[in-house]
Symmetry: C2
Subunit: 394 residues, 2 copies
């Protein structure tokens, strides 16, 4: 094997990040060494990532991990395997950081996967045990490590596939390059998997429009939406990944830009909005950095489709358009809507109204149905009108 260093090709940001992550891991695990040296049983104390330990922090408007903790002790038969897995993943990541590597979570699963042979002290027989069999086991341990050392995996230079894109009148520094997001032609800038390393240089935009669907993003970008309305245009291309969520959160926090989210009018779209806004339940420990509590649901809303006598709001669709465009909700849609209705952050007057219309009409609508009314309708009527009149759901 040729021994060639990759260091010279690494960005200055990455070199700095490696040092920081190494230090954090070493500090967390030096406690174990101390335990051993002083004759104590080495034990890890980690906050629980269970549903019961997930709290909706109404004041801050996001999901948080609670304070309940679990212990993983080396000398407890029930905890020994998890203890071993946690130490194993930490040592693999530590090694990767030292070797200037960029593993993915799939890599880490493979790197750690092996069989341990040991003598069973009770029977005297040699037995075998796999470190793990499936990726969900190693993924779970990576999350434990994130909680334990209070550091997201991205900060440990663990990469992942990345779907989010952005265009707009803004300059950023990523790696060693300055990138002008207003000079992407018909293409777009694909956000890096580690958006915390991005430096915002300057921006000339009044709001951020996040679009669920890549194809609609392409249309609005191509027609010059972001130039005309001074927007940053982002697509999550479906369910948002961690990097897109963090990028949006930073735009909100650091630049103070209002964030509008545009999805299909269905429970799946609402869930996408919910993940951007309060975080996801299974990964509540990330929400403190990934959620954007100020995010607004711009549409498409049920009232946009059907209107509301109570709110004196006319629908954007005619009876004939509704007949052509509306899709019948599936059983899964309805089940999901009922689930969302039980979440605290959906129990506002306006959201309950929205969900109830859906459950009554059993109807959903795709954004494309609006584009089919003409791209100008979406671009020059629907979106700007709703933003100007504050016709969004918080």
């Amino acid at each position: 094997m040729r021994e060639v260093s990759t260091v010279s090709y690494m960005s200055a940001v990455d070199i700095k990040a490696r040092k920081k992550a190494l230090k954090k891991i070493e500090r967390a695990f030096s406690k174990l060494v101390k335990d051993i040296l002083s004759g104590k049983t080495p034990t890890l104390v980690i906050r629980k990532r269970t549903l019961a330990n997930t709290v909706f922090d109404a004041e801050r408007g996001l999901l948080r991990i609670g304070n309940a903790t679990l212990k993983r002790s080396f000398l407890n038969a029930g905890e020994a395997k998890k203890f071993m897995q946690t130490v194993l993943i930490a040592s693999i990541i530590h090694e990767a950081l030292k070797n200037d590597e960029y593993p993915t979570i799939r890599d880490l699963y493979y790197r750690g996967k092996h069989t341990i042979r040991f003598r069973d002290l009770a029977t005297g027989r040699v037995r075998e045990e796999n470190t793990w069999d499936e990726q969900k086991e190693s993924d779970s341990v990576i999350r434990d490590l994130e909680v334990l050392i209070d550091m997201l995996r991205e900060e440990m230079l663990i990469l992942s596939k990345e779907k989010g894109k952005v265009v707009g009148d803004m300059r950023i520094k990523s790696g060693d390059d300055i990138i002008d997001l207003s000079k992407m032609g018909h293409g777009a800038y694909s956000i890096e998997p580690t958006p915390d390393f991005i430096e915002f240089k300057d921006v000339n935009a009044e709001f951020v429009l996040v679009i669920e669907k890549d194809a609609v993003f392409q249309q609005l970008h191509r027609a010059g939406f972001w130039k005309k309305y001074k927007a940053l245009l982002i697509t999550s291309a479906g369910q948002p990944d961690r990097a897109t969520r963090r990028f949006v959160r930073r735009l909100s926090d650091e630049l103070g830009l209002p964030i509008y989210i545009l999805t299909d009018a269905d429970p799946y779209g609402w869930y996408i909005y919910s993940v951007f806004k309060v975080g996801s339940i299974t990964l509540s420990y990330e929400s403190e950095r990934l959620a954007t509590p100020s995010a607004r649901f711009l549409g498409v809303s049920m009232i946009d489709i059907f209107g509301s006598d109570k709110l004196k709001k006319k629908p954007y669709l005619t009876e004939a358009e509704r007949k052509n465009y509306i899709i019948k909700a599936t059983d899964t849609d309805i089940k999901r809507a009922k689930e969302l209705k039980s979440y605290e952050w959906f129990r506002t007057k306006r959201w309950l109204e929205e969900i109830n219309i859906f459950l009554k009409k059993k109807a959903k609508l795709e954004i494309e149905a609006l584009t089919s009314k003409g791209l100008r309708f979406l671009m020059d009527t629907y979106i700007p009108e709703k933003i100007e009149t504050g016709d969004w759901i918080a």
Copy 2:
């Protein structure tokens, strides 16, 4: 509704493309007008897009549409609906081109979807007929139109979601911007849905590496692979879309760069390679512009995993690594492998060997299994060694 033109935000390339597409549609359909004026039954003659009319052109190394045609006549009861659909889609696209819009195929489905009421001359009753009920109907008619006027939908400014990304030492012009693909920081350039409009300005690269998996692309990009080995690095993020295929083809044709494709070692990966290389069966009429017959399958090959006594080739994996990394093939994998074996372009000595090893071992491997041996192994041993020694499958 505000009447605001979007023209001023359109790129010069798009303005030119609109004119060209309008002219082509008008020319094709003026024949119908002539038919009517001269008392003939208006009839469209379109090449068939059936499996039977799909030919593997061994000399050129790609799938082609054959010469069999079908007729769609307005006054034939069995053809009238398809005739109407074809004219309808053409008129919607024509309208969109004139209005400076950028529809997607989903939009076009919605735009054309409506109910036609007519009097049944036989019974005298009023009946209703939908233009179409499902998107696959309108999609099929769009493909007919592409064949009829010999113009890909992208050239008619019909957009779509787009997954392909690229980085490397190359400058392109897209829209009105010059983009330096070597200055993307840790992110990447997301290819536009209409890659024929891209202008290649200058390039400093010796080959193109196309990677199936976005996460592996991120790793190699971040570690500086393309800088170190003078490569253009591309990911298709799974099954390649039309734009990524066209972009790769143009890099091959116009810049004469060798194209290497890196996928998982499984029939799904082989199929991705096959789509890049010869095209897809259902869309054979596109292959003349989307396929890259010179593309090479770099790996991961079955021989890389298991070695070959016949070829005197040692495997890249040790016995222990195989034990840890190999995944058992599913029934679907095996069915797909047998299917591929029947395709003419897979019936080469080397490919049959590859498929037979797979069918014998019933084993597959992910690229990530190689990355887990260390990113340097993939970057500094596996890929460059295979390219240098010509260890790829044509």
